[in-house]
Symmetry: D2
Subunit: 419 residues, 4 copies
């Protein structure tokens, strides 16, 4: 598979020599912070330019973050999901779109692990890690499923998806469809750069603008049966899928990515605002309780303290939720429905707290920067726009109800595309 030609279209600072890959979780997070600080420099300009983030993905690749979860024997980082999620959070603080792309990539790169056979897992991990594939996915479940024709030894996917995060900037795309005349769902990884995949480039949204989340038309994309994730051949030449609870972990995983994405973006908002307040916010002169600088005003300090505290709480819960992911990842073959369900509940809780806090941070930072911070040149709205946009992915009210159903009735959510 040939990596799509990537020409930077917006200003990402020239990639330096990154040196050897980090070897500890802390160093990986530090690396992610480094990436984030480079992205932050022109995140606003790139948001407005709204071009496919080729250069940004190049940065993710060069910095090593893309293969953080890949096996060390193939040159990957061999890190845990806990580290991956922290990395998503750190990158999102610099650029929410790129944090999202990286998070989705981690999930889709993990798809083989979730659903594949041991052979498929080995093959995908080797190829993806060695070639630094960046993954996207054309799997939006609220669209009609893609249809799959079986032609001899091949599965032929066709159809359309409204949203396909990663789109043009990915190397590999995960497809999902249903075999005609059956109810058999099939996941498969295909090269992005092929005529059968036509990305519309029509993602134009309030926030998360550089995520390449536009629609895609799939026409006769061919996949060998051997690449149908999780299917094994039966003695009579048929193909059968072996279900296990772990297969359904994609939803909790993507949801915990969301939580970390929101926390990360909010972190970016708080940091950006604090710099502004320190450097530019004036004290308010029309009050009996005069201060010298905006940063001495009691309400300013109190607001920063309030937002900081809440955001730490959201982050701490996201971290806690990650321990459930680790517990499940430790024994993928015999995850119980209860384990999966409880992980999903804690993750849902982390997500909703992250949304609440993220929106509050995104809105209230303006109150501690002041009127001139509303100038377009400042662009402090980027954070609110990013969280507001992505947090609509699925209704938070239903996530709350999901957590409530468990809290009140002890019922775990039934696995669906969103629970």
């Amino acid at each position: 598979m040939t990596v799509t030609d990537q020409t930077a279209t917006a200003e990402v600072r020239a990639v330096p020599e990154w040196g050897p890959a980090p070897t500890t979780p802390e160093a990986w997070v530090e690396r992610a912070r480094d990436v984030a600080s480079r992205l932050a420099v022109d995140a606003l300009e790139r948001d407005r330019a709204n071009q496919p983030p080729y250069a940004e993905v190049r940065l993710l690749k060069d910095s090593g973050l893309v293969t953080l979860l890949g096996p060390t024997r193939h040159g990957g980082g061999g890190q845990t999901w806990t580290t991956a999620l922290r990395v998503v959070r750190a990158v999102s603080a610099g650029d929410g779109s790129i944090g999202q792309l990286l998070g989705y990539h981690y999930l889709w790169a993990w798809a083989a692990r979730l659903v594949g056979t041991p052979e498929q897992i080995e093959a995908v991990e080797q190829q993806a890690t060695e070639n630094t594939w960046f993954f996207g996915g054309a799997v939006n479940p609220r669209d009609t499923d893609l249809t799959i024709r079986v032609e001899g030894d091949e599965l032929v996917f066709s159809g359309e998806k409204s949203f396909s995060t990663g789109g043009r900037i990915s190397d590999a795309t995960v497809l999902e469809g249903v075999i005609e005349g059956t109810e058999d769902h099939v996941f498969a990884i295909v090269p992005t750069d092929q005529p059968g995949l036509r990305f519309k480039g029509d993602w134009d949204s309030l926030g998360q603008r550089l995520t390449e989340s536009g629609g895609v038309r799939i026409d006769d994309v061919r996949v060998p049966w051997a690449a149908a994730a999780g299917y094994v051949e039966t003695p009579d030449g048929g193909h059968v899928f072996r279900p296990r609870v772990y297969n359904t972990l994609n939803v909790p995983l993507i949801q915990i990515i969301f939580a970390n994405l929101y926390v990360g973006i909010a972190e970016g908002a708080l940091t950006t605002a604090a710099t502004y307040t320190r450097e530019r916010t004036r004290a308010w002169p029309y009050t009996p309780d005069l201060k010298q600088r905006g940063s001495e005003e009691f309400y300013v300090l109190e607001t920063y303290g309030d937002l900081r505290s809440k955001l730490w709480a959201a982050e701490a819960l996201a971290e806690r939720a990650a321990t459930f992911v680790e517990a499940v990842n430790a024994h993928p073959d015999d995850v119980t429905e209860q384990e999966r369900g409880e992980a999903a509940v804690v993750i849902a809780a982390a997500k909703q707290v992250a949304i609440d806090v993220g929106l509050e941070v995104g809105t209230r930072v303006f109150e501690v920067t002041g009127a001139r911070a509303s100038a377009s040149a400042v662009g402090l709205d980027l954070f609110w726009r990013n969280i507001r946009t992505h947090s609509l992915h699925d209704p938070v009210a239903h996530k709350r109800a999901e957590v409530g159903r468990w809290t009140l009735l002890g019922e775990i959510p039934e696995p669906t595309w969103y629970t």
Copy 2:
């Protein structure tokens, strides 16, 4: 004074025959709603085009709203501030920028009444009403004052202001400066279309983008002493300003305009969102408690009810605050500091409630419209942007403290440029 030539630069629907001016408060508000519905059609496109709102001001003039407060004997509407504020609210529901322009216009058109001598009041009201002047103001108090040289019988203003709402689209501009070597402040109304006023057109902000609030350079703008608002000639040929409490009512007036602006914008958000929800929001399929349409989901109904209730409360308080304005307007010559102070406190309260509720409405409407409502084509963020931007005008924390100081200690705010 020649009205600036106004050529429509963005799409406002062609102005129809408006027929005779309304004669009752209700009819004026109805007229404002009509104006708002025309503005709402392309408010988003015009926000993005970010052009001076010549056509929009034309609409305000044609519809009669601009002279609503003008004396009937000069062809004005002869309405009260209560009606003017409702009109600002109604227009703001369709287009927050234009609502702001209209509100500021009402204040500056009223400046003569606040500060002027009886002769000045009569002169300004006649001219402004008969010629349908639209007012702007170059008075941002956080900049250095303009300086005024006295040259014979003329006052010559020079200096710079960072913000001058109304700017190029106004017919008349209110200036404020300090006479060199004194502490005498002078207000004066001057024609906008003169070489001494150079508008920078540099207003580019997150919201309220069509308010022409950019900076202005004032060079040697000449005003006869007779036009120095509130100054009378002394027997020895000097000029002396006669202070009264009513002079300081500009701040309460502008603040109550703000409150109505925010309530109006939030009203627009709620209405726009409700239409979207009814027409486009799908029910969430992944729940045991399935509905047919998004508008049947309990959380959707509850959220609309919550926002509607809070917004009604904000509006009711804004209306209550207006009764204080009317009380003061009923006897401008002998307003007491206590009256003025209590009006200011209730208005501050109305403003802060309007901000709280407005920001909440602007953020939460997305939760009841759904993910696709974050598309740029929908532009549902316009309302949040508009409220978020303007509500930073002065720190709401200090307004809260102002109300608190009265509540706890019975102290009224000392009149300043912001209290």
Copy 3:
């Protein structure tokens, strides 16, 4: 009907000469404030003593408030519901329980107007006003209906109600039941002091403790057919009820009483707290931004301002809702379902805002009084307890949904016992 013997059981200050009844709305509210200030003196002690409020009802009678709505020709105040609601609010600021009793009394005293025939209305109003009846009601709709046997010309009520506000301290009790073998509901007013009514005195709740809201056993309480509210005799000697929309106004009326009750209690909380803060709250010494007194701390001022503003907004909406009641009361015979529905929606909105704000005030006042204000001797929790208790009357979530259904879909609530 003999007025129940009333012996004061707790300390209400001796009743002075009240002088002639007020004649203006303002004077009635002033009278109510006077009553409130007397009640406030020992509201906490009486709350703890939890005795039937005989003396308190005596105070309401002596002050004239009980007959405020009664026709002037019978010695009543002839006031509007707007005034009655303000009076409920004012009294509730001094003692939430007594405010509730008064509000319920107004509703039950109005029951004849809602449902009765013209003759019944005249009879009840004369008797009730001349004799200063205090009303209670045994009508909790979530219990089974009372059963009514028809015995000749009499209706005989029997059954049980869990809650009967007013109970022992009332002079007249409103009963509601269903005639055996039919679905005919009958309201009737009966003397409280009769053997067939046995009040259990079992009301022991977190708040609103002096409302005499315990259960009641009704055994063979006899009422002549002529007293069956709204029933007229048919030519064949039967009885038929004439429905009209106005009959169902009891629910909006009681709900708007609730809104004013909550606002009033919150007002009491704010006033009580402010006195405490001024007189006793110390500044916090462990901060770089030292103050001399607690009342100078920025967060204290800001919090009072925030609570004051929100509470004014809640009050303003309650006032606005009252205008809908007046509109309906102006033509009881031809109220439309739409009018009734819209009144109910605005009232529901006012109630939910009052609850939100009331709970917030009740909780946050502690933050501006300080640790020692949690002493039992201070009793600052009384307000939170009162609002928390009564605001559970019916689920506020469903009220929100009701307002939301109207906002989003234009649907008015179908009249039930709670909507």
Copy 4:
């Protein structure tokens, strides 16, 4: 020192054989949950009886929790503060007062470690652990310091403290005073049961009623110089105190105890409410969207989910804060001011989130249980009362400002009695 005679005054279920002490952190927390469930049975009755919690402290001792932090060589549990804090949280879920007593005990039992010399530490730990001392403290810093006379080899404490948590039910009391004519502060542990300590038993507050937090009169309580914590004899026979940063860790420790106390109480509220909702809350019949049980109502599920999520976040942050305590405890002799300051900031954040969430849980649980849950017999207000009372210990606004000062300016709080 003789353990005070303890006679149970309220109903705590008979103490069973507890068996051997737990050996793992998990088992200790499980033990605490067991204790909590015993306390929960009659927490409400005991709260109302308001008697000194002798029996409750007996339970804490019998269960082994009291010596959880004591060295294993003396028979203690040898556990970390992380475990101690979890135990406080778990006990608080059953009875907030007893959770507070236990938490304060842990701190005062740790006082020797914070301030003492190695010899003092060894002596106190041995005695306290072997004899299962329960600690109280008469150290309220907002009162005047106790005065200390030096009489030969003895220090003689006298004075008065308004609050002395632990009071009569403790075995040992920590005193703090200033040596007359100097600014030397001295901490010392003394037997509670002595004539010089007279507890007033005057703690009567809204919540946390069983904490024995009344005032105490100290008259001539004698302590040998050798027991003056942290003082060493100088060659010339004088005494000198050796300061180190770790000495000031008492404030962060007590503050993190608070955070866990609030989270624990809120946990108790949520659990208690959920049981009530499941067993007793009826569905609301007056709605188009009828349910069979209260626990099926969407708003009920959503509210439980919202509260559960937020409370998990508060708990997760409290856990995170504990890691800072462990880090500091790992090297008490060379803790830096920066380390101490950052720990204090995160702990302050954890506390304020716990307060916010705790109050919200305490208030909103009523909304999902319904009107009858306001009955005194249910007593669901206990949780709100407990959190509301204790969370006033020091103004949360200043804690927010403290976190804000660090977030915005990087400044750590200067150690005081409250920061």
